[in-house]
Amino acid sequence: MPPMRVLRLHVNGDELELAAPEHWSLLEVLRYRAGLTGSKQGCDKGDCGACTVLIDGEPQLACLLVPATLEGRAITTIEGLAPAHRRAGGEGVDPVQDAFDQCGALQCGFCQPGMILSAKALLTRNPQPSHRQIQDALAGNLCRCTGYTQIYQAVERAAEELAAAATGATGTDAAGTGEQV
């Protein structure tokens, strides 16, 4: 058996204590120890972006991250988005998830957890991105189904929804992506 390591990770607002082989990536720990299979493995080499998660609100590739270095950091996976939206007083799912659904951006869906988190991070730091800024922000997430067009539409729609909500809202961090440990 490979050497094991006990990890204390802050995932989607929960403090998790997990034992995993110490050479495992964050992606393996999330998928095969924490049961959070929403983060996908497409290449295991940092090429495809399907494993993208948020670390303190920033999109990063879980297949390249060493989990022991992440203790004390806030890790958000796709499973964390809708519950954070509810905790912040919202209904249903995060507006980014809803926009992806409404715009047909989800075909096979395999790249989309990573894609949605990259889009979420973009809209958090830049609520009104230009078309080019959306393209840049998503350039690390490969999609093989859509040709990206409906993904751009989804991000634009989510930006509109968030802007509309912000005019009457309290300005909370609806997804909780930047929430402190």
């Binding site: 409404q102 047909g104 075909q107």
Partner: protein, 775 residues
């Protein structure tokens, strides 16, 4: 299909309630939240992890395999070699030449030799290192021209043919040679199409469990549950009724998961052997070697035409590099010729196609199976004819239009055909008349057209049973459960099925629950290939839903003592047209129907009408309906670097009726994106040892958001008389003409004819230099 002609392609009553609307997909929210379960997300108690030992040689005889050290490694629970799975398989029954693990030879670098199941992947990988294989390395055939001429070595020995030819098809309709002398223009050129591969983001994965009840369950990332079921029974020598195959949520396929794959047999056998569940997940590198992607083709075309642009004959000779196994190759060889006979009429046509074996990863069906390559060659050649005659490239395509409700030169029946409207749409949207030929040097516009099948009459294995079947169960809760063997591979077929049933029953889509691609639960559907699902499963859904509706309407009419034509189902209610007081929720109408007819459940089926030319192979490529597409591409060619940038693509696709325009647009855009990438970015290339040049997503460059041209999709609705509410396919057709449209745009931009894909900067610079010299 008794209920099929109730109201044809029209809405059940008045306007469509569901069809044609931008409805949400039935599974999209599960995918958006991470709830959707894909094959690798399945974790079973006590599950083992398996890995594959693969050949380092392109061609070698396996002399011996010693697995004793691997078996002795702590944590290893099972080791498997080819002798334990001796039965050959292959998706086409006439060409079954694959073994799950090598029994005599290995035929490409990456061919499977042995497998290990262990407590985790690390242990399995360690055990693979301990397996000793003794090989006798053989001369490898890597070039298809060599394969055509050399009879030694043979990639597959012991066949009736003592050579390396996988399939040869020669068909002639009319007399092409007789056209040459009378033609005003003859264009004869060589073209080539390179190999490329599907690259779904989800790698292949399979999980097997041998249950305490003696039954085997396989979960697999497949697009052909039914064929995998049949193949498992054959290879494992088990009764098919003891095997269950389930396709979980699938992370993309594009034809790359439409063969039975070695890992499916291996995990099943290892589960039976060890008594524990077994999973195998392929790495990205393994997916590149599993391949089954676009066949490289060398194509020679000769087109004869009159001065007005009318094509009088097309003569094609095609050499197809099949790689190491047959896969769908028999069909590929036919498709390379059979699917070119539209959207243009030519009275004389001949194709001579030969598929050969080489010691490389096996090729198979990638989106637009077998017909993308000849379409590229012919559409470029047609552009050459137009240029020679001084005819506008769109105009020459209009003049040769085959028409609707007609027959092609090779005997294929054409029903609806919106190709002219496709040309109109891209001509207007791209500003063709104002801009083509008038852009500054380095920028240009090109056009191309194409057609594709909506399913095929050829059911892979001969039988006269329906190609698609569905069952509906109407519950007292008001829920209708729809059981379909159809494979939703991301194209949205489960949503399509739900929309059609909801439309017929006047229900909310959310109250249709789809259970799909589970051989224990669902009636057979042949799978997601040949763009058949919307047409065939869709028609089966309508057939079933109309039977259920007839029961509900009849029972309610009887209860209310009104005429049946007075009863409507709409918006989740059943009501009387004449008496506004008579109205019920659909749920309660189901109760009345259940009292009248007992437990409510119906089946629906679809089978193709008898179609196809009356000659050997005439049913291959025969489809109940064809889709049509036209693309205009705008490119920019950098004459200093040789780099081609595809700026924008306008695409119009005739899908019959768009059952959901949002999903149809997604298919058109995704197809166009994939086609554009084949021109300038992607190449599945083996080096002189048969080793893949870059089996990773970094080296094999599928487009990022920044590499993808702007795509503008237009939907043309020709309303097919036999399609479900008039629908035809949308998932593969819109890839084809992307590629020649870009090639023709390069000609408009800088005056060079590029005939050999992919269009690398080196080829562009060489062609520019040759052009400059000839001027």
């Amino acid at each position: 299909m008794a209920a099929r002609d109730l109201h044809g392609p029209d809405a059940p009553w008045g306007d469509f309630q569901v069809v044609g609307k931008r409805n949400r997909k039935v599974d999209a929210m599960a995918k958006a939240t991470g709830e959707a379960v894909y094959t690798d997300d399945i974790q079973l108690p006590g599950m083992l992890h398996a890995k594959m030992l693969r050949s380092p040689h392109a061609h070698a005889r396996v002399l011996s395999i010693d697995t004793s050290k691997a078996e002795a490694l702590p944590g290893v629970h099972g080791v498997l070699v080819g002798a334990e799975l001796p039965v050959k398989y292959g998706v086409i029954p006439w060409t079954q030449d694959e073994n799950a693990l090598a029994t005599d030879k290995v035929r490409f670098i990456g061919d499977e030799v042995a497998a290990v199941a262990a407590i985790d992947e690390d242990t399995a990988l360690e055990a693979l290192e301990l397996i000793d294989v003794e090989y006798e390395v053989l001369d490898a055939i890597l070039d298809p021209q060599d394969a055509l001429t050399r009879t030694e070595p043979q990639v597959h020995e012991g066949r009736k043919r003592q050579d390396n030819i996988s399939k040869h098809v020669l068909l002639e309709f009319g007399d092409v040679d007789a056209q040459v002398d009378s033609a005003d223009v003859v264009i004869e050129e060589d073209y080539s199409f390179h190999g490329n591969t599907h690259t779904p983001i989800e790698p292949h994965c399979a999980v097997a469990q041998a249950g305490a009840d003696g039954r085997l369950t396989l979960w697999s990332a497949t697009q052909i549950t039914h064929y995998v079921h049949r193949a498992l029974a054959r290879v494992l020598e088990m009764e098919p009724e003891r095997i269950r195959v389930i396709q979980p949520c699938l992370g993309g396929a594009f034809g790359g998961k439409s063969d039975p794959f070695s890992l499916e047999f291996v995990v099943a056998k290892l589960a039976l052997k060890t008594g524990r569940p077994v999973k195998m997940l392929w790495t990205r590198e393994e997916v590149f070697y599993a391949h089954r992607g676009r066949h490289p083709m060398r194509l020679h075309y000769r087109t004869t035409a009159k001065a007005d642009g009318t094509v009088t004959g097309v003569d094609a000779r095609i050499l197809i590099d099949g790689g190491s196994y047959s896969s769908f190759g028999l069909v590929t060889t036919y498709y390379s010729g059979q699917l070119l006979a539209g959207p243009y009429a030519f009275p004389n046509y001949r194709f001579d196609s030969t598929r050969v074996f080489t010691n490389k990863p096996p090729c198979g069906p990638k989106r637009g199976h077998g017909s993308v390559q000849p379409r590229f060659a012919f559409e470029v050649q047609l552009d050459e004819v137009a240029a020679r005659l001084g005819i506008d490239p769109i105009e020459i395509r209009r003049r040769n239009f085959v028409g609707e409700h007609t027959e092609t030169v090779n005997g294929q029946r054409i029903t609806s055909n919106g190709f002219q409207q496709c040309l109109d749409a891209v001509e207007a949207a791209s500003g063709w008349q104002e801009r083509r030929g008038k852009l500054p040097r380095g920028r240009g516009l090109g056009v191309a057209g194409s057609m594709y099948i909506s399913g095929t009459n050829y059911p892979v294995y001969p039988n006269h049973m329906p190609q698609a079947g569905v069952q509906l169960k109407a519950d007292r809760s008001g829920l209708v459960t729809l059981f379909t063997g159809g494979n939703d591979i991301g194209q949205g077929s489960n949503s399509m099925a739900a929309y059609l049933v909801a439309e017929e029953l006047g229900m909310d889509v959310a109250n249709i629950k789809v259970v799909a691609a589970d051989t224990d639960l669902c009636p057979v559907d042949l799978g997601a290939y040949s763009s058949r699902v919307t047409f065939m499963v869709g028609n089966a859904c309508i057939d079933a839903a109309r039977k259920l509706r007839a029961q509900v309407v009849t029972a309610v009419a009887k209860r209310w003592e009104v005429e049946e034509r007075d009863v409507r189902m709409m918006q989740g209610r059943v009501f009387s047209l004449s008496d506004p007081d008579k109205t019920l929720p659909t749920r309660e109408a189901f109760w009345i129907a259940e009292e009248e007819y007992d437990t409510l459940g119906v089946t629906g089926s679809y089978n193709t009408p008898h179609l196809g030319g009356k000659y050997r192979g005439g049913t291959i490529g025969a489809s109940p309906a064809y889709s049509f597409t036209s693309h205009v591409a705008e490119v920019e060619v950098d004459e200093e670097t040789g780099r081609i940038t595809v700026q924008k693509v306008w695409v119009a696709h005739d899908c019959g009726r768009a059952l959901n325009p949002m999903i149809v647009s997604g298919q058109i855009e995704g197809s166009t994106y994939m086609g554009a990438a084949e021109v300038v970015l992607e190449e599945q290339e083996m080096n002189r040892f048969g080793l893949h040049r870059g089996p990773s997503l970094l080296d094999y460059r599928i487009p990022t958001s920044l590499d993808t041209p702007a795509i503008e999709a237009h939907i043309v609705e020709s309303i097919d008389p036999e399609g479900p509410f008039g629908a035809k396919e949308a998932g593969e057709g819109p890839l084809h003409s992307t590629i020649p449209a870009i090639a023709n745009a390069v000609y408009d931009a800088v005056g060079i004819r590029l005939r050999h894909l992919p269009f690398t900067p080196g080829k562009v610079l060489a062609a520019l230099a040759a052009e400059a010299k000839s001027c």
